[in-house]
């Protein structure tokens, strides 16, 4: 049998396969170069970038929970200027699309960030983070209010011609409302879900474990929630979706695709196995061979119900 077709396209970004790395779990790519072939996956998404460098939260910032982990990093990042000067030169040499994840403290910052990256040819697209749950000012408001989300997306849309992906928060009553608002405002693709807000408590100390008290839950524990949300949103909007949430192997990834995702992002799994994204892409291809599926796109939204 000939090799199955693995390539997919998201908002005009051509990817060799549907496996992307999730923002905040893959550094700036360079950290993983010694462990895997960066040209074996569909796309890389950078650590969330803000206009100015960000210190992040105090420690403890992470804690393991059953089947998952909570993090409250607080968006520590080098800032857009240092990213362009110090991190982008490495990524430029890698033949894999680079998508920058952008986070603003205010509407204006989102606009400025979008404008700043617009002229950079080595950036394939933008993923707008309206859903970061750990920074008190901002994030959560944009991520949970359809009107505010719509404003951010419209502004970013008008400030860059790059392919525009919006990353949705699951911490809302109805994710379909948020999805529609973002698509109506110009989002060409949606990635979902970001982490679920949670907390962990140290009984003996009678204190929260995280310095930030609450954090974002990721890992296998959130996969059922993420699958459900991708399935719901897929039935409500026409843009391509990127499924995120506890993808640890090819089975998980293909389940998201059946639920309606065109691609998936690998997050927490990168921490356990630095080459997880490469391995998952290879395993997916093997599954297609074993199951006589000629093109991965045949599986998108192909859930029987």
């Amino acid at each position: 049998m000939t090799k199955p077709v693995m390539s997919v396209e998201i908002a005009g970004i051509k990817m060799r396969n549907p496996v992307m790395t999730a923002s905040g779990t893959f550094g700036y790519g360079e950290e993983f170069a010694g462990y895997m072939d960066l040209e074996s996956i569909g796309a890389m998404i950078t650590k969330g970038l803000s206009l100015k460098p960000k210190a992040g939260n105090n420690t403890p910032r992470i804690v393991e929970t059953p089947g998952g982990m909570l993090n409250a990093i607080g968006l520590q990042n080098v800032g857009i200027d240092a990213f362009i000067a110090k991190k982008l030169p490495f990524l430029r040499r890698v033949n894999t699309p680079v998508i920058v994840n952008l986070y603003g403290n205010s509407l204006e910052e989102y606009g400025e960030l979008a404008a700043r990256i617009d002229g950079l040819p080595e950036i394939a697209g933008v993923e707008v983070n309206i859903s970061y749950p750990n920074v008190k000012q901002g994030g959560i408001v944009f991520g949970t209010d359809p009107g505010a989300a719509s404003q951010v997306v419209s502004l970013v849309r008008s400030n860059t011609s790059k392919p525009l992906i919006v990353k949705l928060s699951p911490n809302v009553t109805d994710i379909v409302v948020m999805a529609k608002a973002c698509v109506d405002a110009g989002a060409e693709a949606l990635s979902l879900i970001n982490t679920l807000t949670g907390m962990a408590i140290d009984l003996q100390k009678r204190r929260p474990v995280l310095a930030n008290i609450t954090g974002g839950l990721s890992g296998p524990a959130i996969k059922p929630v993420a699958l459900r949300m991708v399935w719901q949103v897929a039935r409500a909007v026409k843009v391509p979706l990127i499924g995120i949430g506890g993808v640890m192997n090819a089975t998980d990834a293909l389940e998201f695709i059946l639920a309606g995702a065109t691609a998936v992002q690998i997050g927490t799994a990168n921490f356990l196995t630095p080459a997880a994204s490469q391995q998952i892409a290879a395993e997916m291809e093997q599954w297609l061979v074993d199951n006589r599926v000629g093109d991965v796109k045949e599986l998108i939204g192909a859930l029987k119900s």
């Binding site: 550094g27 462990y35 210190a55 992470i62 890992g219 630095p274």
Partner: protein
Amino acid sequence: MQFQSQVLTNTEVSPGYYRMRMTAPPALVESEAGQFVMVKISSAIDPLLRRPFGIYDMGSFATPYSDSGRQTFIEILYKVVGRGTGMLADLHQGDHLDIIAPLGKGFDFGEAGEEKILVGGGVGLAPLYLLAKELVKSHKVRLFAGGRSKEDVLCITEFERLGVETYVATDDGTLGDRGLVTQVMMKHLASGGAPKRLYACGPFPMLRAVAGIAEEMRVPCQVSLEAYMACGMGACLGCVVKGVNHSAETPDFRCVCKDGPVFESTDLSWE
């Protein structure tokens, strides 16, 4: 690198403390003292994350079962503190582990011939053994080991066998002098000549005290830190500590996993 490893031995060296020897690829003998390993204790999703452990020892032994005729091994020394280390303690010879190693930056040995002082608290002795093994080749080495009680002072005879002069302090006086290891160290340093370099690993308050002593004595001091971390390679940013230049306006966070775990004491903020 990431590799599959087999448990060779897993022995309780003191109540609640274990020493585990595991197979490793030959390249691992190039690991530096102070570097660490990330161990996936179970292939299941719970516990999910790897656990970091300093390399206690490494080497190789003759075996007919390897092409080169030698089998490389690494050892860790760990305390059972929760479910993950509890599961680790239950492993037996032949059980499999998934390991990423070597990670982080190791110790700087300094000039040959200088006297070196090692200070270890509890399971913080672990990375100091491999360091001592290197240092004794060309330095005089003294070790100050502390713990709550005699059960918490580990592997002292191993250090003595290397030719390290060892001093012990326990909080309850059940072994060595009663008191803090830093106090015992000060007493002995006051009499002998000044050492040229300090190395410390243990609880944060102990490290802070050692850093303070080093500053007073104007000698360089390296500390090895422990932290919660998810990845061990600088991606999760969970394990950061404050660098000396840290302020709210000019953040100076350093990753224990990548910038450390060994730091010059003067590079960190000890607040």
